[in-house]
């Protein structure tokens, strides 16, 4: 292999710093006592503790999934801190966030101050196990939109939380969803009432800070009839040479004619160039198109994490409902990703569209895994899937695992796949037109991801383009 492709060096991870802040943590390990302790710290109602304990007991009977195309040492679940929160400093007002935290998020480019905020984006900020602030709550409340931390939702809107929690991802759905259901500590809750078009983008920023803690958050978004919301999610973590577990659950519910657009730019710490450290990102995301003519659209840009294991899915229950999945997954160095989606067609004339773009560099491994399932009653259902892989250099891998299960003969299912390679010849072609390697790679990558990036909200698209550039800087140099 040419030296040009071998000099594959990442610019240092710029979110890798750690904030020195006093934490209120529970002891390491997992048991019913720990779960009771977490529940107690959060002053939770009895039903929620029951939900946790049931999930925990179920989890004990489950085993870790081994089918993903990723390799990692066995996780010691007793060696993780399940609750870690920055210590409150006797401040009651929402405006008074610990200055140390303010500085942290300023450094990350996430303004918690509404005046400094991006116009039109409300942010819920999660630091380790808890939400530290939510901006623009008042403005949203005027429109009838509830946007708050999960803990507040449990306190202020228990009936809503109780009705929908676990309704899309049941506590026993899979190993990590069960674990999350037992120990989740916070997250974001969002409720859009009937006929309301949410006046601004909602967003949650996740930050893992403590070395030995995991992050187990839950996001629940409910969009009532004829409503619309666009939701963004961003993540970073400090650079540690150990691995941290992030096992989140996201549930979306869309009623008649409602639309939820959910976008993620994931930049968890990916480990160093030798594969030491990094986040294990084992996440369950699922949306239920419950109502007729509803629509759920997932757009994800996955650039971080040592290991990514996630399949944002749509259950298309309502007739004519639409599910979309647009994904760019980039792996470099020793990163591993096994990601894709599930589109489950139950209602009539349901439609789904999958566009997946995998980019592998270094010695990384990138798999697309997707299920398209057409139920017996899904008359006229349609799916289109396109899975493209791009290899940079010749030491990385890309795989595509499509699963198609069709139980209705009127359905149309299309799958297209391609693999391309940024190789010496392509770069030489650019060079012979005066274009240097860095610019060539950026042009090739931007062309490759274009079909996905056009679905990101504007500010995110700009961020994501920059992020890809940084991640691949010098990767073919």
């Amino acid at each position: 292999m040419s030296s040009a492709i071998q000099t594959l060096v990442n610019r240092p991870y710029k979110h890798g710093f750690r904030t020195e802040i006093e934490a209120d943590s529970v002891p390491k390990g997992l048991s019913e006592d720990i779960i009771r302790l977490i529940s107690q710290k959060k002053n939770e109602p009895e039903w929620l503790l029951d939900f946790r304990l049931k999930a925990y007991r179920h989890w004990l009977t489950m085993t870790e999934p081994t089918w993903p195309n990723v390799k990692y040492p066995k996780i010691d679940f007793q060696d993780i801190i399940y609750f870690s929160a920055p210590k409150p400093k006797d401040k009651k007002s929402m405006d008074e966030v610990d200055p140390e935290l303010l500085r942290t998020f300023e450094k990350l480019g996430v303004p918690m101050n509404e005046r400094a905020a991006l116009a039109g984006v409300a942010v819920d900020v999660i630091f380790d196990s808890v939400s530290v602030t939510t901006t623009f709550k008042k403005k949203l409340a005027e429109a009838g939109v509830i946007f708050c931390s999960f803990s507040e939702a449990v306190r202020d809107h228990p009936e809503l939380v109780r009705r929908y929690l676990g309704s899309v991802v049941p506590p026993g759905d899979n190993f990590y969803a069960a674990l999350n259901s037992a120990v989740f500590t916070d997250g974001s809750f969002c409720y859009i009432p009937k006929g309301v078009r949410c006046p601004m983008e909602l967003s949650t920023y996740f930050r893992i800070n403590t070395q030995e803690s995991g992050q187990f958050e839950r996001t629940l978004i409910v969009a009532e009839d004829d409503s619309y919301v666009s939701y963004l999610e961003g993540c970073t973590a400090p650079q540690f040479d150990t691995n941290q577990l992030h096992a989140a659950v996201v549930e979306l519910v869309a009623m008649d004619r409602a639309e939820i657009k959910y976008s993620t730019v994931q930049n968890w710490y990916a480990g160093d160039e030798n594969g030491k450290g990094g986040i294990y990102n084992f996440v369950t995301k699922r949306g239920l198109c419950k109502g007729a003519d509803s629509k759920i659209s997932w757009t994800q840009v996955e650039t971080g994490s040592a290991i990514t294991w996630k399949y944002p899915s749509c259950v298309l229950l309502g007739d004519n409902s639409v599910g979309e999945f647009y994904s760019v997954a980039l792996t470099n160095h020793h990163q591993q990703a096994d990601t894709g989606t599930k589109m489950v067609h139950i209602g009539r004339n349901t439609r789904s569209r999958i566009i997946s773009k995998g980019i592998s560099a270094g010695v990384s491994n990138n798999s697309y895994r997707g299920l398209v399932k057409i139920g017996a009653k899904a008359e006229g259902a349609r799916n289109f899937s396109q899975c493209d892989s791009m290899l940079i250099g010749d030491r990385c891998g890309a795989n595509t695992f499509p699963y198609l299960q069709v139980a209705n003969s009127t359905a149309t299912v299309e799958h297209e796949a391609s693999t391309s390679k940024i190789g010496e010849d392509q770069l030489f072609y650019f060079a012979s037109r005066g274009i240097d390697t860095e610019e060539a790679v950026s042009m090739i990558i931007n062309g490759f991801v274009r079909d996905v990036f056009i679905h990101l909200p504007m500010e995110f698209a700009v961020e994501a383009t920059k992020l890809l550039g940084i991640k691949l800087e010098g990767s073919v140099g």
């Binding site: 391609s418 012979s432 037109r433 005066g434 390697t437 931007n446 062309g447």
Partner: protein
């Protein structure tokens, strides 16, 4: 541009190169002066395409000896993109596909990079669009080509026209065209050759690598070189190409061996 005195545009002396362990070029001597068209012919595997790629700086080939002067400068010490900016152009035998990157974006970046390095102002997309459409007329290209991905799904003829279009945009001083004629039907050949001829000036040089003399009916060379076994074994004028067409290459090789013995 000042005319190079005596040296001409390109001066290749004793050039040897290999790929992996295989020595392919075994001592090439070649001089091209401004305004000249040279054709290199020869059987498969004689090293013609390797010479073209080595001159353009392909990283797979290692130069093991000799020197190459371009406008009096040491060409071999420049990375390929700087050779391109300095006015060396390679028309590819097999132009590469770049899915997702539109021709218009690619061509504009190439144009602005190369001409920018020569101190010209960048063209914005609209200005560039006017320019490229004008050049495309010369090659009778369909305008929808601009929105298609670079070479993706192009026919052989479309790819070769695209190469000549790039040459027209970049205005090289030394154009090396590697089997630009292969895979073209007679109409396409005429159009492509017409495109190349239109770019022929007293100030630039053209090196044609070709298998067949038919291209040389349209682009008439000043010199014809025969390559075999990594060396230029005979040089003549355009009549040599006709003789090769009639008699094949074997006699040239025999003659060369006899001389060497």
């Amino acid at each position: 541009m000042t005319k190079q005195q005596g040296n001409g545009l390109l001066e290749v002396r004793g050039l040897t190169a290999r790929v992996g362990d295989r020595q392919i070029l075994k001592g090439i001597d070649l001089a091209i002066r401004a305004g000249e068209v040279h054709a290199i012919m020869g059987p498969n595997g004689s090293g013609k395409s390797t010479l073209a790629k080595v001159l353009a700086g392909h990283p797979s080939y290692e130069v093991t000896g000799g020197e190459v002067l371009y406008e009096g400068r040491n060409l071999l010490e420049l990375p390929p993109e700087e050779r391109a900016r300095a006015g060396v152009f390679l028309g590819f035998q097999y132009p590469i596909e770049v899915p997702g990157v539109t021709n218009s974006a690619f061509l504009r970046l190439a144009y602005n990079t190369v001409h920018g390095s020569r101190g010209k102002e960048e063209l914005d997309p609209l200005e560039f669009d006017d320019l490229v459409r004008e050049k495309m007329k010369l090659l009778q290209m369909n305008p929808d080509f601009l929105e298609r991905s670079v070479n993706a799904g192009f026919s052989g003829g479309e790819r070769k026209r695209n190469e000549v279009l790039q040459m027209a945009l970049l205005e090289p001083r030394l154009a090396i065209l590697d089997e630009t004629d292969s895979g073209l039907d007679i109409d396409a050949l005429r159009i492509v050759a017409g495109g190349v001829n239109a770019l022929r000036t007293a100030d630039n040089g053209i090196l044609l690598v070709t298998h067949y003399q038919r291209l040389l009916n349209y682009i008439v060379p000043d010199f014809v070189h025969v390559m075999d076994g990594g060396r230029i074994i005979k040089t003549g004028d355009k009549s040599l190409a006709l003789e090769l067409e009639e008699r094949g290459y074997d006699w040239v090789a025999r003659e060369y061996k006899a001389k060497a013995a």
